[in-house]
């Protein structure tokens, strides 16, 4: 609150031109002028973020299991994973549009590509960091590989999985906006692009602020899910508030 007040005061006192940094009041005025319109763009972006995030989770889980299952498989998959991260997603996005068409699909794919990597790495880290004691306990209980994975490794990895999910949800917002810059007719990324093109800087700032709030909210939802459904998880990377 104080921050916003200071921002407003500085803008007014020094007469900062609105195309450099608009005052919060001006941003609010422009953004709330068309509430239905902005809400629509927010929903569109939110959908891309969530879809990309879900796809990331659904693909990262089995991928991490594969990565940790054998050295041979890891050796085959790992370079490919690194390759997907080496490709600049901003450059890949227009190519994906040509390949996949101008639908939601390329946006979800870009979001996934931006978000999934840290998730795979943290899940894999969780799966291999199970203490040897617990693995031995599983063997003493005659566990096969599948029950060992399901009853020991995966539960043990839950705090790690959530650590990855927190990184992934933040990156998913980035990915969705990148995708919208390249190919979209709606969404907050699209809104920023079109409004700056028409010099409506206040609206672009408004969209930026909504994106930040969306990022924070989604992150907090992931944190809340961990707290509610996995209360025993130490929440290794979230400070207790």
């Amino acid at each position: 609150m104080t921050l916003i007040a200071m921002w407003e005061a500085v803008c007014r006192l020094f007469g900062v031109p609105s195309y450099i940094i608009p005052a919060p009041s001006a941003i609010w005025k422009e953004t709330s002028a068309l509430p239905g319109n902005v809400a629509w763009h927010t929903l569109v972006t939110g959908k891309t973020v969530l879809l990309g995030f879900l796809v990331s989770l659904l693909i990262s889980l089995p991928l991490a299991v594969l990565l940790t299952s054998s050295r041979l498989v890891a050796g085959a998959i790992y370079p490919l994973l690194v390759l997907t991260q080496a490709i600049p997603k901003v450059a890949l996005a227009p190519i994906l549009v040509v390949v996949l068409g101008t639908s939601e699909l390329p946006r979800v794919v870009v979001t996934f590509l931006v978000a999934f990597f840290p998730l795979v790495l943290s899940i894999a880290a969780g799966l291999v960091s199970v203490p040897p004691d617990l693995i031995e306990l599983g063997r003493a209980c005659r566990a096969n590989r599948w029950t060992e994975l399901w009853r020991i490794r995966l539960p043990y990895a839950v705090p790690f999985i959530f650590s990855g999910l927190k990184a992934a949800i933040a990156l998913a917002v980035v990915g969705a906006v990148v995708a919208e810059f390249v190919n979209a007719d709606a969404g907050l990324g699209y809104l920023i692009q079109t409004s700056t093109a028409f010099f409506k800087v206040q609206l672009a700032w408004g969209a930026l602020i909504i994106l930040s709030i969306m990022g924070i909210l989604l992150f907090q939802i992931v944190v809340a899910i961990e707290r509610i459904f996995f209360p025993w998880s130490p929440g290794i990377d979230t400070p207790t508030v």
């Binding site: 004691d133 209980c141 539960p155 025993w232």
Partner: protein, 277 residues
């Protein structure tokens, strides 16, 4: 044992036949190959027969292969030479009727005390309608009544160990393997758990192989103490303990106790009268 007689024997919880739990260890050797291709001899030519419902302690300097021997009997490690037979069957993989208590409590942090105790049954798909009731009576036996719903991190080290012991007893094994289970506990908890273990063993007899590096603990618990030499571990001597049962603390002063403890100390340190243990 003050409260020993107030507990009803748990024989009604036992369903196994009368002739199980005989361990035959024949010329057992185990070596490991380390990363730099060095061959490390852990155990050399160990042979011993353990009777049904006998309590045997393994004592020796650290690194003498006590834990390795336990893991070989548990089927968690393959033998390099020789073999382990249980009731005439070769041990090639972990056996359902063997319970293992590890050095650390090794509890699942995401499961309640009750679910931890039920874990082996769940893994072996042997949970029945009576299982939770049996788990609760076991927890009661070790003084953990009312803690069924707690998570491991809410328990003290001693309570975690008790949970681990209940888990090993849950499927009523005829053989119990214990790897320095009380090693990390304070002296008082240790004495208490020793008494509880003796009571459980008396009420639900089973063959116990118990690794420790405490000489008094081994004499207090065991029918026979197997003394192993430093690496590579081999049996130096098997010391019989003639202290009458039921045992209790205070019996350390008995001649039989002293004689056995002195003999073990002598075998390990090679000097008589060494008081450090």
């Amino acid at each position: 044992m003050r409260n020993g007689t107030t507990h009803r024997p748990l024989t009604h919880l036992s369903s196994r036949s009368e002739f199980n739990g005989v361990i035959e260890i024949e010329n057992l050797s185990k070596h490991f190959v380390s990363r730099d291709r060095d061959r490390v001899e852990a155990l050399t030519d160990v042979s011993i027969s353990i009777r049904r419902n006998e309590f045997v302690c393994l004592v020796g300097p650290s690194g003498c292969g006590k834990s390795t021997l336990l893991r070989l009997v548990g089927g968690l490690l393959p033998a390099s030479q020789g073999r382990v037979m249980i009731d005439g069957t070769l041990v090639a993989e972990p056996r359902a009727e063997t319970g293992i208590v590890f050095q650390s409590p090794t509890l699942l942090p995401w499961a309640s005390v009750l679910d931890n105790v039920l874990f082996p049954l769940k893994m072996m798909k042997r949970v029945t309608a009576e299982s939770p009731g049996r788990a609760k009576s076991l927890l009661k036996l070790v003084g953990l009544e009312g803690f069924e719903g707690k998570y491991p991190r809410e328990l003290s080290g001693g309570m975690q160990m008790r949970t681990g012991i209940c888990r090993a007893l849950m499927h009523d094994p005829d053989i119990l393997l214990m790897d320095e289970p009380f090693g990390s506990l304070d002296a008082l908890t240790r004495e208490e758990l020793t008494l509880q273990l003796m009571r459980i063993w008396r009420e639900q007899p089973k063959t116990v192989l118990f690794v420790t590096h405490s000489i008094p603990e081994s004499v207090m618990l065991a029918d026979r103490v197997v003394v192993l030499s430093a690496r590579p571990g081999r049996i130096v001597e098997i010391v019989p303990v003639d202290v009458p049962r039921p045992r209790k603390f205070g019996m350390e002063a008995l001649d039989d106790f002293q004689r056995a403890a002195r003999r073990i100390r002598q075998l390990i340190f090679g000097v008589e009268g060494n008081t450090i243990h």
